[in-house]
């Protein structure tokens, strides 16, 4: 198991934290775009919100 008190543990935590943050942001960006485009597509359909 990882020793959190080890000399360079902070670097390991930083690498995992940065990876987690950027991958989460990427996931959120793709999913939010999907949601926005689906809404716009619904509006364009006959009987959608835009009609």
């Amino acid at each position: 198991m990882m020793d959190l008190a080890a000399a360079h543990a902070g670097f390991v935590i930083a690498a995992y934290a940065i990876s987690a943050v950027f991958l989460s942001v990427l996931l959120a960006a793709v999913m939010l775009r999907r949601r926005r485009l689906s809404k716009e597509e619904q509006k364009l359909k006959p009987g959608g919100d835009g009609k």
Binding site: M1, M2, D3, A6, A7, H8, A9, F11, V12, A14, A15, Y16, I18, S19, F22, L23, L26, L27, A29, V30, M31, R33, R34, L37, S38, E40, E41, L44
Partner: protein, 272 residues
């Protein structure tokens, strides 16, 4: 009784057989072509992607859970690198994916250039931002590994510099798609960047062998890695790849929807 020469009968049988073979071959070729067109059809593609995605997301989540457990808990520390060896489990998969995605973009761009299929362009365009993030993560986690190991965040050695150039190529690819209002012009230029830039992939791969670099040479190809560290690395690489697959399929779907919306808007403008 009609007297037909034996040779005439065999000639006729042969020509019938030949015609049958030709018809069979044509039917098979049409079958392959139909299958290719069927799979490349955006509507069919989205239906298949929607069927695959829940399974792929589940597999990615399970691989991440198992991979992180092995990377942070069950794998041992390195006798030289200590705890910093654990950075390898996020750095190496990100670097592999950055290279793989660029090759994927180049292949998709070549398919779009040769066959003029819009789905190939959509696949290449959707892969761009994902590859850029993985390339950025490879550079940042590499720098975090470099500080305690080499005593510096960055050196302009062959591996790091070539990876930095790949990052610039990703940024150029993304910038081209954003810079032009005409999507056909943007697609043409983006294809050129993807196809010319793919030359960087073998340069990055062999940079540690061709030049004297601070970056360590490949450990996996020479099996210079203990199984206790190899398995978490492979599991994390699988998790990253599945995560990319899920994001890429979703992003291609987004791209198809965006193009449909653009076409609908242009149609509405033209009709007014």
């Amino acid at each position: 009784m009609i007297n037909v020469p034996a040779r005439s009968i065999s000639d006729r049988a042969l020509s019938t057989l030949n015609a049958s073979f030709k018809a069979d071959r044509d039917l098979r070729l049409k079958g392959y072509s139909d299958a290719m067109q069927f799979l490349a059809n955006p509507t069919i593609f989205m239906r298949l992607a929607n069927a695959v995605l829940p399974w792929a997301w589940t597999a990615a989540a399970l691989c991440f859970a198992a991979g992180l457990y092995m990377a942070l808990i069950s794998s041992p520390t390195d006798y030289q690198k200590g705890e910093t060896v654990r950075i390898m489990y996020v750095h190496v998969p990100a670097a592999w994916l950055a290279l793989f995605i660029y090759v994927l973009m180049a292949v998709a761009s070549a398919v779009a250039l040769i066959f003029r299929h819009p789905l190939a362009d959509a696949a290449a365009k959707a892969a761009g931002p994902l590859g850029a993030v993985f390339c950025f993560l490879a550079l940042v986690t590499g720098a975090i590994w470099g500080k305690p190991m080499w005593g510096t965040w960055w050196v302009w050695d062959a591996r790091l510099t070539s990876m930095f150039i790949l990052m610039l190529l990703y940024l150029a690819y993304l910038a081209i798609w954003q810079a032009f209002d005409d999507p056909h012009l943007a697609a043409g230029l983006a294809r050129v960047v993807a196809l010319v830039g793919v030359i960087m992939v073998p340069i990055i791969k062999f940079s540690v062998e061709w030049w004297n670099t601070l970056h360590q040479p490949a450990s996996l190809a020479k099996l210079a890695i203990d199984p206790a560290m190899l398995w978490p690395l492979l599991l994390m690489a699988l998790a990253y790849t599945l995560f990319f697959l899920c994001l890429h399929l979703t992003a291609i779907g987004n791209e198809i929807t965006a193009r449909k919306l653009r076409a609908a808007r242009l149609k509405a403008i033209a009709s007014t």
